[in-house]
Symmetry: C2
Subunit: 351 residues, 2 copies
């Protein structure tokens, strides 16, 4: 353990090993064409001195910055968002990304930007100039923001759009919302349900639309109607209450509800309870997101599991790989799964 007083630079290593700076640089970066013998000698010096290249200096001299920038919404992130969808989403996203970055020698930096369009361009532009990241990850609701994607495309920085199903500039990382909704709906149909309602998310998120599509497609495939079975919320609890009430009032024969967020599902659970209906005996319930909360409700909810951590992780890997490559757009799907708990059961009156 060498005692480190001042920062150890590549020069110190070069001197210690009796070689040139360039050689040390080659060893550090695993460059080719270094004789094994010399490489070992230099490596020994590096270890002895505890040398670690300075990220700042590396970036200065034209190499990569080894930074992935994750763009999050400032307002929604902390207050709004956590109230509505549970905090888990942000958490998983961060940790999935950070973990994967660290695995590849990269670092993830979180940048919070305002939703207000004027500022977005400014703020993001400043962040890009200051940090010069090798890649950017866009999270909802910025995943499909034209101004942002245009800015990134112009600067030729590879970027991934999380939770966006639409092809377009950058890499779209979808969690297969259409398919997931289809899966959940199909499962309910399989259990004998015929009147299956959906509480959708707000239209501003395109995933809301995709989930509705998946639900509708599954119903259509089974020859079931969807009229009057759709209500929209804003992912939050109160909106779920409203939607559930409307649905149950309008459709007394309802036997299943799919909610586009855990909070809205919990609200629906509360509403059904108030009306004297038992879940899952009288009504089955499936939620989206599968945050930790739904494991502790009575009963625990069956939920569509959005593989957020894995999605972000894959996004990071894509960006890193795109480092030198051409920036071909793509849509990558990470499949969602259905975690069956106790809020789903065969439809009433079924064998």
């Amino acid at each position: 353990m060498a005692r480190v007083r001042k920062t150890v630079t590549i020069r110190d290593v070069a001197e210690d090993a009796g070689v040139s700076l360039q050689t040390v640089s080659r060893v550090v970066n695993g460059g080719p064409n270094v004789r094994p013998q010399l490489r070992d000698k230099v490596q020994a010096a590096i270890d002895r001195l505890g040398y670690v290249p300075s990220l700042a200096a590396q970036r200065m001299s034209g190499s990569r910055s080894y930074i992935i920038l994750a763009i999050n919404d400032r307002e929604r992130t902390l207050a709004d968002w956590r109230e509505r969808r549970g905090t888990d989403w942000v958490d998983q996203m961060l940790l999935g990304g950070i973990l994967t970055c660290s695995k590849h020698g990269y670092r993830m930096m979180v940048e919070l930007v305002d939703t207000h369009s004027d500022h977005v361009e400014r703020e993001l532009g400043a962040a890009l100039s200051a940090l010069q990241p090798d890649g950017v990850i866009l999270t909802p609701p910025h995943s499909e923001n034209r101004l942002i994607t245009a800015l990134l495309a112009e600067r030729k920085i590879p970027f991934a759009r999380i939770g966006s199903n639409a092809p377009g500039p950058g890499i779209a990382m979808t969690m297969g919302d259409e398919g997931a909704a289809h899966l959940a709906t199909s499962r309910l149909i399989e259990l004998g349900h015929r009147r299956i309602a959906m509480i959708a998310g707000p239209a501003q998120y395109s995933l809301s639309g995709w989930r509705v599509s998946g639900w509708r497609r599954a119903l259509a495939e089974a020859g079931l109607p969807h009229e009057g079975l759709l209500e929209a919320g804003d992912f939050g609890y109160e909106s779920g209450t409203r939607a559930a009430r409307a649905l149950l009032t309008r459709n007394p024969d309802l036997t299943a509800i799919i909610a586009s967020s855990d909070q809205m599902a919990l609200a629906a659970l509360e509403v059904t309870r108030d009306r004297g209906l038992a879940v899952p005996r009288d009504l089955s319930l499936i939620s989206f997101d599968n945050t930790p909360i739904v494991r502790f409700s009575q009963p625990p909810l069956t939920a569509v599991d959005q593989p957020i951590a894995e999605t972000v992780s894959r996004a990071v890997e894509q960006l890193i790989a795109r480092g030198e490559e051409r920036d071909d757009d793509a849509v990558i799907e990470v499949a969602a799964g259905l975690v069956e708990r106790s809020s789903t059961a065969p439809a009433p009156g079924t064998a």
Copy 2:
């Protein structure tokens, strides 16, 4: 909106404004001794070109890095931790820190290190060399790790230890665990409870000890015994189940339990229900942490609210302020509060 092709450097601005690099630098950094007229002219050029100084270059030339490094435990963070204490802790910490950093023109970077002591020094040392942060935030269980604090002290990097009550090197940011436990216990005593048990956290976290102390002190002040009323868990659900069972079996006259984590409190809730006891009619329950989960249990739990976001936020501000100052150690307390919900009530048989 100037169209940005290549990165705008300080040179471009200097040229555009017809001044020297140094002058631009002065304007950017709010340096003294620049004539207002010139300053405006330069500022105009900066705005027009959309210039933002490169963090890397700034760091290179001896200025600060404007980076705060938050050290988290790799294993516990993702898997273990979230299972045991709910994911909220990490989330709040990150966002509290990130938000505050961004407010001051700093950025927060999360570094995950292994718990295994050999690696910690290496990993952290590498991170410090690579990033050269202006400050470091240590989170449990690293807040009191000797190797880490020694390393930071040696490198003279200001650092804050979150959730540590003990004075020592660096700034200790305590959330007043002793006081919080005392507060919760006192409230129960006030409600007429006489047999108040505690499910403590694992000994490896010093906050566990402090919470026990606060509980004990409150009991002592009221002349109540604490013998046989203490069980320890590991913050996780299962351990809470075990502890609650042991406590209830050993003390049939128990009327209140304080749990050192939300998960353990939920477990205790489940156990009391199994035994035919109603909360809060027969038994009052208070948990620690106040993660979103406890709002959705039946009944919603009264909980000690750990002001994590604020604590980290304050820590960041301390570190930034310490930038140039002397590194005097300190213990700063951010008081916890009690959020009363429906799991606490007057003791059975009380007026």
